[in-house]
């Protein structure tokens, strides 16, 4: 696979992979990766060794991590408005469609290697009511939202936070939470959603509940842990 390197070159490849060198030394070694295939091979091998040191079995991150990642992704090939049932059906329609799509994406990727195809969802005035079921660490929260009136109802079960209040947030694609208001944990409530939040309510966005001081976050951003998340879908 790789030609025999001198010990010095072998070591340089290892030092680069393990991050032992910096400054000009590192820059020179990085430059060499592009023009010396044997050196690049050795570097790849050492990188694999370095990665293999991360041999911990690992640990599952909380589900909120995925929600947060998803919320920060730019819009792309999968229209967020598509309900999950529909996309299931689409996938079930057969591998033919899937591979055709893959070929199309592949062609696009070949033509414009650095371009990510972004299909911006057209802001269409949603009129159908939307619902979300928020699950996670504690209890369960259901939210329904009527875009026509900008009002929501919310209800919690098994969500006793003692001397803290549950606060509802909507997290659209830009990843910035907008407060929908503080919830009543002991009885269903209904409220007008603030304009800043209702303007970004759309199918596919993430709703979340964080633990806040009584009366709500003093900063306008979540200050306590996010304990429940869920996706808003159209009915």
């Amino acid at each position: 696979m790789s030609a025999e390197l001198s010990d010095d070159d072998e070591l340089l490849a290892a030092e680069l992979a393990f991050g032992l060198i910096d400054g000009g030394e590192r820059g020179a070694a990085e430059d060499r990766l592009g023009r010396d295939a044997g050196f690049a091979d050795a570097h790849a091998r050492w990188q694999a060794y370095a990665a293999a040191m991360a041999s911990d079995p690992g640990e599952a991150p909380r589900p909120s991590v995925w929600s947060a990642i998803e919320a920060r992704l730019p819009a792309n090939d999968v229209a967020p408005a598509r309900a999950s049932r529909t996309s299931l059906r689409w996938w079930q329609a057969g591998t033919l469609a899937a591979s055709a799509a893959a070929i199309v994406l592949g062609v696009v990727a070949l033509q414009k290697p650095q371009t990510i195809v972004v299909r911006v969802p057209v802001a269409q005035p949603a009129s159908a009511p939307m619902v979300a079921v928020l699950t996670g660490k504690k209890g369960i929260v259901t939210v329904s939202f009527d875009p026509a009136s900008g009002r929501m109802t919310s209800a919690a079960n098994g969500l006793d936070l003692g001397d803290h209040s549950p606060q509802l947030w909507v997290i659209p694609a830009d990843g910035k939470p907008r407060s929908m208001g503080v919830m009543n944990a002991s009885a269903p409530g209904w409220a007008k959603v603030p304009e800043t939040a209702s303007s970004v309510m759309a199918a596919g966005v993430t709703l979340a509940v964080s633990v806040e001081p009584v009366g709500g976050s003093p900063t306008g951003q979540p200050t306590g842990p996010v304990i429940l998340t869920g996706k808003l879908t159209t009915t």
Binding site: D7, E10, L11, A14, E15, F18, G19, L20, I21, D22, A40, A44, Q47, A48, Y49, A50, A51, A52, M53, A54, S55, D56, P57, G58, E59, A60, P61, R62, V65, W66, A68, I69, R72, L73, N76, D77, V78, A102, L105, G106, V108, A109, P113, Q114, I116, V117
Partner: protein
């Protein structure tokens, strides 16, 4: 544990990562499902505070999303690519936080290597077991130095400082260990 199984898993992960490079969100979700436990382990190792580790993990996956197009399956496995990227994000965060205090390093060989012993690593892959075995053959101090370099982003200069040892001494010590490691892994 047939190596065929893990080879197939590796090939399918590489193919999935390539689909992420083409902007396929379902593929991205699959990569997350298959690798987040492992990569969160990497983050936790570098950033023991969970909140910090979770933020590093988020940043790592957002980089995966943006940069999957540059993954080249001929230059290494998808898992190595993902771990390297995650390690870099987490180390950037660790070093950028300003809170990072590089503690002193004990060079004595009697220092127990805190990594799990090779024999207990049944869940892990062949490469990892071999590497753990070979690191075990080094003195505990040397294995520890190499790990510290990688997981804390410490260079020779910083390691020398932390071990209160001249730069030349630390350098030749690590280089000797690296060559020993290579010979063991060949």
């Amino acid at each position: 544990m047939g190596s065929t199984n893990s080879d197939m898993a590796a090939a399918s992960l590489a193919a999935t990562l390539q689909r992420v490079g083409a902007g396929d969100r379902a593929a991205f979700e699959e990569v997350y499902r298959r690798t987040s436990v492992k990569l969160f382990g990497v983050c936790l190792r570098i950033l023991p505070v969970r909140q910090e580790a979770e933020e590093a993990l988020q940043e790592a996956y957002l980089s995966v999303w943006r940069r999957a197009g540059s993954f080249d399956g001929t230059k290494g496995s998808a898992m190595t690519w993902l771990i390297t990227l995650t390690r870099n994000r987490a180390v950037d965060r660790l070093r950028g936080s300003g809170k990072f205090a590089a503690g002193p390093i004990e060079l004595a060989d009697e220092v127990p290597d805190p990594a799990p012993a090779a024999s207990t690593m049944l869940e892990t892959g062949e490469d990892e077991r071999r590497l753990a075995y070979c690191l075990d053959t080094l003195g505990g101090g040397d294995a520890q130095l190499i790990r510290t370099a990688f997981f804390e982003g410490s260079t020779y200069a910083e390691l020398a400082d932390r071990a209160s040892t001249p730069l030349g001494t630390i350098k030749s010590r690590i280089r000797r260990a690296l060559l020993k490691l290579r010979d063991c892994l060949r």
